[in-house]
Amino acid sequence: MYVAVKGGEAAIANAHQLLADRRRGDRSLPAISIDQIVAQLGLAVDRVMAEASLYDRELAALAVRQARGDMIEAIFILRAYRTTLPRFGMSVPVDTASMKIERRISATYKDLPGGQLLGPTFDYTHRLLDPSLLTDEPVAEPLRRTADESSMMRVSDILAGEGLIEGDGQMPEDHVPGDLTREPLEFPLSRDLRLQALARGDEGFLLALAYSTQRGYARTHPFVGEVRIGEVEVELDIPELGFAVSLGPVQVTECQMVNQFQGSAKNPPQFTRGYGLVFGQSERKAMAMSLVDRALRAEEFGEDIVAPAQDEEFVISHSDNVQATGFVEHLKLPHYVDFQAELDLVRRMRAEYDARNGVEKSDPIRDAAE
């Protein structure tokens, strides 16, 4: 009985001890190290960093290990740590045009300045189980190109040259970017806050919503203008110094989705954009994010709001997996007080129903003392 009177404390301690045992598993096997998780389960680490909004591979790997590989649990652990950290400043916008590129593909141009770079992708692999990975077979070194220091033009800039795509847009001079970790969300959101929420939103949820737009629930006729993965410098403005100082590089995945737009009374026919930016290597998430971002801009473009993916309050209120899992799983907590109240009501209504229908019924609740 999980509410055993006076036993709660010991039961919880014992449960946690058992959890630690199961986490460690068979003691005759070596424990998996944080370095190994960082190096060999890198995409799991990336997802945890992205959805926890904290760029720290070691801590994310620790969370993955502590959570026994449960991603949402790991995200939760890392977020709960992140929230205790002071915010000491705001970075200047990262310049993804000067990204050190590891992968960059465009679906809209056969070739383009900088070229198409496949990078470390699952694309075009045949998903056949690989027996060589059952053992620790040596892995050949990859080919390397000589580093190209020049920045790689973004596809949106190519189209912008012709005036066929909406620009980056301008925020007012005095606009301070919102921070959803410091202010409660108030709908409707500005786009910076909406993108923040999407960037930490659940990959699976955004994937499903993005998919729904492709299947006709608010179709946006998308093309992958570009997906790029690589390292960008994060710089912080130091007011005392009067210039920005580099804090170091972070790996990000950026997706620019190019979408058709027929034009409206306010805007000429042109391509519009959906944007995705995610910590680490997470193409699926960045692409899904950019599709959902575009769908959520429906009102901006005067489009009819007809599908879930266009509904900001619906999407953003339910995209956070830490919130969602907490509330769904809280149903395991005892609810017997409320259940008692409902039981009482149902019994009363049932008795009334039976009386109306002339059903003879013996009371199933006998006094325990009988």
Binding site: I12, T83, V337, L345
Partner: protein, 292 residues
């Protein structure tokens, strides 16, 4: 990485506490109004009392005596866990005695013993918006509160009566606070609603996931919604508590066997123990003693 676990008194940093205290002060100033606040991720899951925990963490001082209950009981697992959390991060004195506590954090119940001046009751709230199940959009419900447009709620209660002959809401029964805001009392059984009215204690409500704080200051009107010809009623139990013989208290039904055997005992464990210490005995306890 070694100095990860250096947390402030009561876990939250002082800036966060200040932000929460401001929200609390605003909530006290506008009884029943839901104040948005920048809820933090807590080290327990959303939906498990993070709102209540943040409110408690923001008002807790080293001299406070804390009581935590869930379903009226001090020893339910989540109450144990939250109490242990505050012992760990704030090292405060804890108690199970209602009258000894300065702060009582609760989920789903209000203690049977009347609270007194100087005590604060902190409610854990899952869905702070009483209109949420009538209108899912926050943008709409905020407007409805602003315009004091509560017709929808009355229609819902009326439809209950038309369909069932009585109001079919048994917990989280909506109240009107100080004649202005309709408020969700959290999923306490409606049995507890009258205790909120003109209470001497300060009542604070925290909803972490939904990022809202609201309050009922001491000596405030709290009226359960009803109709003249269908006045508000609380639940009544046919039998007294099987252990302490208390009447007019909220009882839990405990299943004794697979033959329909049930007993009804106080949901408020402290109240029940206190009565038994003072020599009260219900029929089950009396039987046991007779058998020994």
């Amino acid at each position: 990485m070694t100095d990860l676990a250096t947390y402030n008194f009561a876990y939250l940093d002082e800036q966060t506490k200040r932000m929460i205290r401001r929200a609390i002060l605003k909530a006290i100033s506008i009884p029943g109004y839901q104040v948005p606040f920048a809820s933090r991720e807590m080290p327990m899951p959303y939906g498990w009392g993070t709102g209540g925990v943040q409110v408690t963490a923001a008002i807790l001082g080293p001299k406070d005596v804390l009581k935590v209950i869930d379903q009226g009981a001090d020893d339910t697992t989540n109450a144990v866990s939250i109490r242990a959390f505050f012992q760990k991060v704030a090292n405060v004195a804890v108690t199970t005695k209602t009258r000894d506590a300065t702060i009582i954090q609760t989920r789903h119940r209000i203690p049977e013993e009347t609270l007194t001046a100087g005590q604060t009751l902190v409610y854990q709230v899952p869905i702070p918006e009483p209109l949420r199940f009538l209108e899912p959009r926050e943008t709409e419900t905020r407007k409805m509160h602003a315009l004091e447009e509560y017709g929808l709620m009355h229609v819902k209660l009326y439809e209950d009566i038309a369909r069932n002959g009585h109001i079919a809401t048994t917990y989280a029964y909506p109240v009107k606070v100080e004649g202005r805001y309709v408020m969700d009392p959290s999923p306490t059984p409606k049995f507890d609603n009258p205790k909120m009215h003109m209470s001497e204690a300060l009542q604070l409500f925290g909803a972490g996931r939904e990022k809202r704080i609201y309050a009922v200051p001491p000596h405030t009107d709290v009226v359960s919604l009803d109709f003249e010809d269908h006045p508000f009623e609380i639940q009544h139990f046919d039998k007294p508590c099987a252990l302490c013989g208390a009447e007019h208290v909220y009882l839990d039904e405990v299943v004794l066997d697979d033959k329909g055997g049930r007993m009804f005992v106080c949901s408020d464990t402290d109240h029940c123990e206190d009565r038994r210490e003072h020599g009260h005995a219900g029929h089950l306890l009396a039987q046991q003693e007779a058998a020994e």
